[in-house]
Assembly symmetry: C2
Homo-oligomer: 238 residues x 2
C-alpha cells in the first residue's frame, strides 16, 4: 500500500527551491537554454492531472520533461514535495477565487445572493479549465479531491479548505434560517457536480460524443442547476 519510507533524511534537496537561478536574470525565452525546473513542474502537473498522483512515477515525469531522472530529485526532493510545490505555484488562483467570493453581496437584500455565490465560486475554475496554461492544474485539483491517498488529502486540506469554508459561511449568510450542516451538504453536492464537469471523461461516451469534458459553455447550466438546488432544497424548511 505504498509505504512511506521510514528514514527521513532531513538533509535532502533543499538546494534550490527558489528558482532555477537563471544566469544573469535573463528570461529563459531569450537564453538558448530552457528552464528545466519549469519543464519538470509542468510535466508533473500534466501527468498528475492525467493519471492521478500515485500511478505517475518520477521516471515518467523525467521522461516527459526530457531530463534525467536525478534532476527531479535535485530540484524538488521527494515526490510528494513536488505535488506540494505545484499547488504552491498555483496558489494565486485559489486566493483570487476566495477574494472573488468575499466580494459577493450575500445580504438578504440581494435576491440573487445564492446565484452570485455559486457563480463566483464556479466560474473562475471553469475558465481555468479552458485556459491552456491552467487546464492541467484545474483537472489536477479535481483528481486530488477524489483521490483517497495521504498526499492528495494533504494538499487539498492545506489549499482548499479555506475556500470551502468561505463558500459555506457566505451561503449561510444568504440563507440565514438554514442549519449549517444542510449548507455543508449543499456544498458537497455542488462540488461533486463541478468536478464532474471539469474532469469526468465518461461524459463523452455517454453523450455519444456530443458533449466534451470541461466544456465552459455549460457554466450557466451548472450555475442554474446548483442555484435551483440550494433555493429549493437547502433553503426551504430550515
Amino acid at each position: 500500500m505504498a509505504r512511506i519510507s521510514k528514514k527521513a533524511s532531513g538533509t535532502a534537496a533543499s538546494k534550490k527551491n527558489v528558482s532555477p537561478a537563471r544566469r544573469s536574470s535573463v528570461p529563459a525565452t531569450e537564453t538558448g537554454r530552457v528552464d528545466r525546473r519549469q519543464d519538470i513542474l509542468r510535466s508533473a502537473e500534466w501527468l498528475f492531472s492525467k493519471h492521478g498522483y500515485h500511478p505517475v512515477t518520477v521516471r515518467d515525469i523525467a521522461a516527459h520533461a526530457g531530463v534525467p531522472l536525478a534532476l527531479v530529485g535535485y530540484y524538488f526532493g521527494k515526490k510528494h514535495e513536488l505535488l506540494k510545490t505545484i499547488f504552491e505555484h498555483r496558489k494565486s488562483y485559489i486566493i483570487d477565487r476566495i477574494a472573488r467570493m468575499r466580494q459577493v453581496d450575500c445580504s438578504t437584500n440581494n435576491p440573487r445572493a445564492v446565484e452570485d455565490i455559486v457563480r463566483a465560486w464556479a466560474e473562475p475554475v471553469l475558465q481555468l479549465r479552458v485556459n491552456p496554461d491552467g487546464q492541467p492544474f484545474s483537472v489536477l485539483v479535481a483528481r486530488s479531491i477524489w483521490e483517497p491517498g495521504e498526499e492528495a488529502r494533504h494538499v487539498v486540506t492545506t489549499y482548499y479548505d479555506e475556500l470551502a469554508a468561505v463558500f459555506i459561511e457566505t451561503m449561510c449568510k444568504a440563507l440565514p434560517n438554514v442549519h449549517r450542516d444542510k449548507v455543508v451538504w449543499g456544498y458537497e453536492f455542488s462540488l461533486g457536480a463541478l468536478l464532474m464537469l471539469i474532469a469526468d471523461e465518461r461524459v463523452e461516451r455517454l453523450s455519444q460524443h456530443g458533449a466534451k469534458s470541461g466544456d465552459v459553455a455549460q457554466t450557466e447550466l451548472l450555475v442554474e442547476f446548483l442555484t435551483a438546488g440550494f433555493l429549493s432544497a437547502v433553503g426551504q424548511r430550515a
Copy 2:
C-alpha cells in the same frame, strides 16, 4: 506508470472460479473451516473501497484476509481479474437498480416524473451505503468512477454504462423538449453529487464533525436538490 505485464500467460488460474467447492455442500458456518475465497473477495472489496485500486497490493489483500499471498492468485489470477470478480459478484445490485428505474412512470402525465426518476436512481445506492454488507461495494463504485486508471474504467464501462443510459433515456422522456446533451450534463451533475454523499470524507472536517459521509438521512435532501436542478435548469428553455 504501472505497466501491464507483457507476457499474457493465458493458462493461469481459471482453476476454481466457480466457488470454493465446499466439502459436501455444507455451509461455511457449519464447517469448522472458513471460506477463504470469500474472505479474499471481501478483503479486496474493503481495501479497494478504502484506498482505491492501484495503491492496494495483492499482499495487502492476503494479509487482511489472513491467507498466504499465493492463495489470492490461485483463486482470482491477475489482480485486475479480482476487481472484475467483485463487480460480477455484486451484479444483482446493478440489475435491480436498472429494473427499478424502468418501473418509473416517466410519461408527461406524471407531474413527479423527474423526482421519481432521481429517487429510483439514488435511493438504492444510499441504502446499500448503510447496509454493512453492501457498504464497501457502494464506496468502491464511487472510487472506481473517480479513478483515472484503465482497470477502473473497464469495470465502470462494463457494469454501469447501461444504468447511465437508462437514466438518460428515461429522463429524456420526462423532459421531452430538451436536447439530450443537456440531460447528459444533468446526469453528470447528479452523479457527482451522489458520489460525494456516498464517499467523500472531507464533509466531516468541513462540517466540524456534524455531518458524516454516506448519511442516508440526506437522501431526501439530495433528491430535492437534484430534482430542482433538473426542473429549473435542464428542463427549461429547450
